[in-house]
């Protein structure tokens, strides 16, 4: 088997192997909190189940991105490509594999605190679900950056030099690892915002605003990683 074919399989393995970690932990956390809430409010089973499924579905996004990239890497057409292309495929796998860990775990955190809130007062379930969806959606930003860079790397045909190969691997590490922290951090912001909304639903507007400001500032390091990755891919 030629190197590029081997590299595409390796890249796909890294992508889905690492990419499944975050979402699985996050969804488990939501389910744990849902069971806790159910123990407190056995009559609110319908509301708890509904919100749990919505939260878990959004948390799944990161793993689905990783799955899509794994399939792209597995079934992409790399006939006659040079060695550098193989390294680009490995870098694409590292980017999306590491990049989804943070968002997957982070999206689970607001889901958990939403469950706590519903367990405290099932009347607030609609308000809390809306707040949870906003928080989880913003948490996915870092995964979307990783997906973008990963798709660029998977479709790139780099020049076949040692310098470019190392630059491309560097871009993969920069965006992949760089997306972990902001993903988890966004999740923490959304988690505590949801706890607060669960206690005082009438303050939801103010809390959503503060949450989005906090999450936006948390995303800055993610943007630095994106810039460094794009420089490494296109400029050098």
């Amino acid at each position: 088997m030629e190197f590029v074919a081997v590299a595409s399989v390796l890249g796909a393995g890294i992508a889905i192997g690492l990419g499944a970690i975050g979402s699985a932990v996050g969804e488990g956390y939501i389910a744990m909190k849902a069971v806790e809430a159910l123990g407190r409010q056995p009559n609110a089973g319908g509301k708890i189940l509904r919100t749990m499924i919505i939260g878990q579905a959004i948390t799944e996004t990161a793993a689905i991105f990783a799955l899509v990239m794994a399939l792209v890497l597995l079934f992409g057409n790399n006939e006659g490509a040079e060695v550098a292309k193989g390294y680009a495929l490995i870098a694409a796998g590292i980017t999306i594999g590491c990049g989804t860990v943070g968002s997957g775990f982070g999206a689970g955190l607001p889901g958990g605190s939403t469950m706590e809130g519903i367990g405290r007062n099932p009347e607030n379930s609609d308000t809390l679900t809306v707040q949870m969806v906003i928080g989880q959606a913003v948490t996915q930003t870092s995964t979307i950056f990783a997906l973008t860079v990963s798709l660029i790397l998977a479709t790139l045909t780099p020049e076949n030099t040692v310098v470019k190969i190392f630059a491309i691997l560097g871009a993969g590490f920069a965006m992949g690892l760089g997306a972990v922290g902001p993903g988890i951090g966004d999740g923490f912001v959304a988690k505590n915002a949801n706890t607060a909304v669960g206690r005082r639903p009438e303050q939801m507007g103010l809390l959503t605003r503060t949450m989005i400001i906090g999450q936006a500032v948390t995303e800055t390091t993610d943007i630095y990683s994106l810039v460094v990755a794009l420089i490494l891919i296109f400029v050098v």
Binding site: G178, G183, G214
Partner: protein
């Protein structure tokens, strides 16, 4: 592919190092800023009247948490363009 020696090799490893520097460097500030933002939301939930003061403090706290991320960015850019 054969000339893995001399200035090219240094350049290549500098690019890889830039990626690793920015990648790991972004983890800490991301989580730290998340903590700040989360606790600020918690505080506003308890004292909504103090929202402006809390938001201001949150942004200052996050800016300071950000500094190590900026160090990582500077090091990465030096490795890319200067080395």
């Amino acid at each position: 592919m054969e000339n893995i020696a001399g200035p090219d090799f240094i350049k290549a490893l500098a690019f890889l190092a830039a990626g690793i520097a920015m990648g790991f460097g972004a983890i800490g500030p991301g989580i730290g800023e998340g903590f700040v933002g989360g606790k600020a939301c918690e505080a506003i939930g308890k004292r909504p009247d103090e929202a402006n003061l809390i938001t201001k403090t949150m942004i200052i706290g996050q800016a300071i948490s950000e500094t190590t991320g900026i160090y990582a960015l500077v090091v990465a850019l030096i490795l890319i363009f200067v080395v």
